[in-house]
Structures are given as structure tokens and as C-alpha cells.
Symmetry: C2
Amino acid sequence: MSEQVHEPRMQVMCEGPRGDPEVFRSILARVGDKWSMMLIGMLQEGPRRFTELKAMTQGISSRMLTQTLRQLERDGLVEREMFAEIPPRVEYSVTDLGRSLIPAVLAIAEWASAHTNEIAANREDYDAAAD
Amino acid sequence: MSEQVHEPRMQVMCEGPRGDPEVFRSILARVGDKWSMMLIGMLQEGPRRFTELKAMTQGISSRMLTQTLRQLERDGLVEREMFAEIPPRVEYSVTDLGRSLIPAVLAIAEWASAHTNEIAANREDYDAAAD
DNA sequence: TTTCATTAGTTACTGGTGGTAACCTAGATA
DNA sequence: TATCTAGGTTACCACCAGTAACTAATGAAA
């Protein structure tokens, strides 16, 4: 009776995807993750070594870089190739699946970029109004 | 010399947006947030009261609902209207800014939905390979 | 032969935050 | 007097993102 029917396109946001909702959530969380999408962006240009990525991603720690790359690898968005050399060499590259994610992320990133100042202003107003 | 030039469209993901990078980051983080986009999706159909939202968003606690709505309000994505009645009545609605975010989020959500099973399989393979 | 440098990490620790359960307010109702 | 309602707040705990420091293995340098 009081049950509302969601628009079909919104359903994916509210009710759930075609698979496990928890996996779905974790994918969205990965997009919002501080480092993940930055790394995917960097790897788009070609394979990179651990130290290169660490240098490009200024501010990231070894632990966070390892952790983020491992998660991306686990999801199949990034590939890791290890060479048995001394000193060790490891190359990371983005997979086709990872590449296919980029346009969608770019859309969000561009919205965010376009509205960053507006939102910053909203926050200032809100905080200022808090008497 | 060895400096690589990023594609301009990727720049927004790696280097930064047109505004404060921290604000930009926090916007991406909000998209990845467990509840935020779900609430925006629900409010798209029209204004909702606190208790309605709590019932629709199964699993959320009062504290988390308050907190998430406050953040969305602070960013200017959601509006809060309070009526001086007893018992109190509060209505939340999505703003134009909030509405403008939806298509971009939908693109991500649809990618996630389409690849949920593939990624779940990748994770199983990865975990199984961990000897 | 004792250092040092290099690469790709790991380990111990800590602060912030997501989440639960219990409580609060003010008036109407029984 | 006790209970119900709506829309929260408070006290509390557990987990996890993030930092700083350390490590393994080897070749080169002194």
C-alpha cells in the first residue's frame, strides 16, 4: 500500500545490483578510496614499478601503496608482474577491466572538479551559520 | 626528460581539480560512502521525513542517518526543513546541486552492477591462489 | 670484510570513525 | 502516572586507515 516503486535506473543505487550487494558496495567504496583511482589513472599510461608509483603519488606510504595495489589486483583491476632479480623488480599495469572503469570515474571526477568551489562555499556558509 | 605528461582528462584524477584538492577528495569519498548516495537516490522521488528514510534505508542507525544527512546538507546536496510541531516534523529534500550529481553516480553504479559478479569471481580466484 | 645503497615491501603502533545501545525532549493520550 | 511519538543525542567500543621504523637479499664501494 504505502510501498513506493523506485525508478528502475535508481534501483541500482538504492536496492541493489545484479550481484552480491556487499561486493557492489565495496566497488563504490574503492572508487571513493583516496588512492585507488589515482593509481589506476597513473597506470593508464603504461606499466610502472612500485617505487615509481610511490614517487608519483606524493604523500602515499609504502604500506598504503602495497595495500591499495593488492586490493586492486584482487579485484582484477590491476596486474602485478614480479621479476626474480636482485634488487627485486615488480611491475604493475592496469587490466582491461580496470581500463573500462575509467570513463565512469572520470565523469564523477569532473563533476567533483566543477563543483569543488561551490561545495567549499556551501560548507563555509553552513559552518558560519552554526551559532 | 623522463617526465611523463598526463592526458588532460586524466589530470583531474591524478593531479587535482579546479579547487581545493582536499574538498575534491572529500566529494569522491562521499560518493563511495555507504549511505550518502542511497539517501540521495531516495530523496529524488520527493521530500522524506527522518523516520521514513530510516525505514527505507534498512540497516542504518539513527546516529548514522543524522550524521550522513548533516554532511549532505553541509555540502548543499540536501535541504532540511524543520516544522515547529509536536511531535517534531522534519523534511529532507534533494537540491538542484544534489540532483545534478545523480547521472555521474549512476554511471559508476551501473558499471559496478555490471561487473559485480566478475569482480567477485576475481576475488575468489585471488584468495584461492593464496597458498 | 665491514659498511652502504637499492627495491619492495612488513611490523608495531595510534588516532579517527563507523556502528550499537541507551537515553532525551515535549506534549498528547489513557 | 505511565506510555507513545518524532527526531534526534550521548556514551561507548571495535576496527581500520595511516605513519614511522624496520627488514631481506645482494652488489658495489672503502
